[in-house]
Amino acid sequence: MNIIRWSFANGIRRTRWLSISSPIHRDLNNPLLFHPSQSPLPSNNRPLPYNLRALSDKTSSSIHDDVKPEPTQTVSQEQQTEEEKKTNHDIKDDQTRVLQAALEHVPTLGWTEAAMVAGAREVDLSPSIVGAFPRKEAALVEYFMDDCLQRLLGEIESREEELSNLVFHDRIAKIIRIRLEMQVPYISKWPQALSIQANPLNLPTSFKQRAVLVDEIWHAAGDRSTDLDWYAKRTLLGGIYAATELYMLTDYSPEFRNTWIFLDRRVSDAVDCRKTAQEAAQLATAIGAGIGNTVQAFLRRQTQ
């Protein structure tokens, strides 16, 4: 949980700085952090159902408070809080550096304390610092998930042109693929990461990370709905994502070709399924209208 908060904090630091020159970064770098109401851009006007917003607020509520521009705040006060935050920030930064370095050892050592110890050695900190992560390996997996999300958002931003040229279901499939490809270097150890995420202690965080990820994918694909459909869509996409992720574990085709075919089919199925449902509804209305007409006509004839 803390890790998320740090990476959010890092994000804010960056966005805050960037927002001076280009407000657009504020939106694109870290859309999670801003309420639609606070957004400087109309494009960010992305309604979220309240439960998820509350979820993300919970982890970053204090940060939110800091971010809200307060014109009345004097400069000296701001400097002071900056300084206070800085000491805090440095500590977290050390831990983030350890996790970053540890990721390089994951392919050989797995998602383990040993990888974290190796990471700490690399950044020239005493490996005892691993004790500062309350849930050890889970912190590493969670850091990776957050890191991937940030990279995914960056990718989506930089490939906006390419993505907007694709039809809807191809766009979704493409984004999922970009995200899953980040797991390729760790694929042999990924089952271990999944089992860590499924640990009851870690489940709340991993569930939230996945919810946020799926939400980001829908948002990037251009979904702006606010109705009940919202839940259905996210559940559906969560299912597709998880299924593909699992398929990938046992896919030995070159460059995971079969995985991407599998993914394309699942996404088309889902889109088709929605279309089929809509068509069925239309058909039902048509049939209903037809029967109604016949009955009406029949009754009319009877009464005449």
Binding site: I91, D94, A114, S126, P127
Partner: protein, 275 residues
């Protein structure tokens, strides 16, 4: 006592149990206590804590999460209780890894656990136990006499620092803490296991009765030394509360300071990182 001699003019009174004694005296008196109980130390610990002290020490070491290649300093650990556990934890990590990936051989060889105690009698007990455990020749165990307030180690040379049931007997706790901070590397961890304060009403009364009525008598019967155990229970009451001690650790420069009460506060594990 005539306070006329120049040495005593500059001396502050410090506590030895409930008694006020000059600072110069305390370390000698503590030394006497431990010299006199060293031989019965283990059995007394078992009796007094009903065997719980073993679990508390296990908990301390599991918090430390030792790793191969660690440079660890255990202060006031003459009997080796913590040191043996640290080594055991490292060995079991290594055994786990044998089947898996290649182990960093150098890292294994570099593992060092330094046991530093001010009292030679306690160190002797520890050395004997090391031999009994087959660790007599272990290169990774280094026994040395030394004062927690003036450690003979270089700055930033240690990954971990533990002190179990020891800091209470140090004359200047602040000095011991700043020494701990000095010898640790960045990222290194400070852990302190110490008898602390019980705040739960009812249990506290029971605990007080046990400490003041039972322990000194047991001390007299088993170790033949009532005074030393009287000192023990008094010094526990004189030790700063969990919160206060945590503040002292922060003041020494440690970050992420936290503590955990065990057995309702009978003992507490304080933890901090040098960052």
């Amino acid at each position: 006592m005539p306070i006329t001699s120049p040495a005593l003019l500059h001396s502050h009174a410090t506590s030895f149990g409930f008694k006020e004694v000059p600072e110069e005296e305390k370390s000698r008196m503590v030394g006497d206590v431990f010299s006199s109980v060293a031989s019965k130390y283990d059995i007394m610990n078992d009796i007094m804590s009903v065997g719980l002290h073993r679990l508390w020490k296990d908990r301390l070491v599991s918090k430390l999460s030792p790793f191969p290649g660690m440079q660890h300093l255990d202060v006031a650990g003459g009997t080796g209780d913590i040191a043996f556990r640290v080594l055991e934890a490292i060995h079991s990590l290594e055994r786990q890894r044998i089947s898996g990936v290649a182990v960093d051989e150098d890292a294994e060889d570099e593992t060092r656990v330094f046991i530093c105690d001010i009292n030679p009698a306690m160190l002797d007990v520890g050395r004997r136990r090391a031999i009994a455990k087959g660790l007599g020749e272990a290169r990774s165990l280094i026994w040395m006499e030394g004062d927690a307030e003036a450690l003979k180690f270089e700055d930033a040379s240690m990954d971990g620092y533990t002190i179990a049931f020891g800091i209470r007997n140090v004359t200047h706790i602040e000095k011991a803490l700043s020494e701990a901070y000095r010898v640790l590397r960045r990222g290194g961890r400070f852990l302190c296991l110490e008898l602390s304060h019980v705040d739960i009403p009812g249990f506290r009364d029971l605990y007080d009765f046990y400490s003041f009525s039972v322990i000194p008598s047991v001390g007299e019967i088993v170790a033949g030394d009532r005074e030393s155990y009287q000192y023990l229970v008094e010094s526990i009451r004189k030790f700063p509360s969990q919160e206060k001690f945590a503040t002292m650790i922060k003041e020494a420069g440690f970050e992420k300071v936290e503590y955990e009460n065990l057995a309702g506060g009978v003992v507490a594990i304080h933890s901090g990182f040098k960052l």
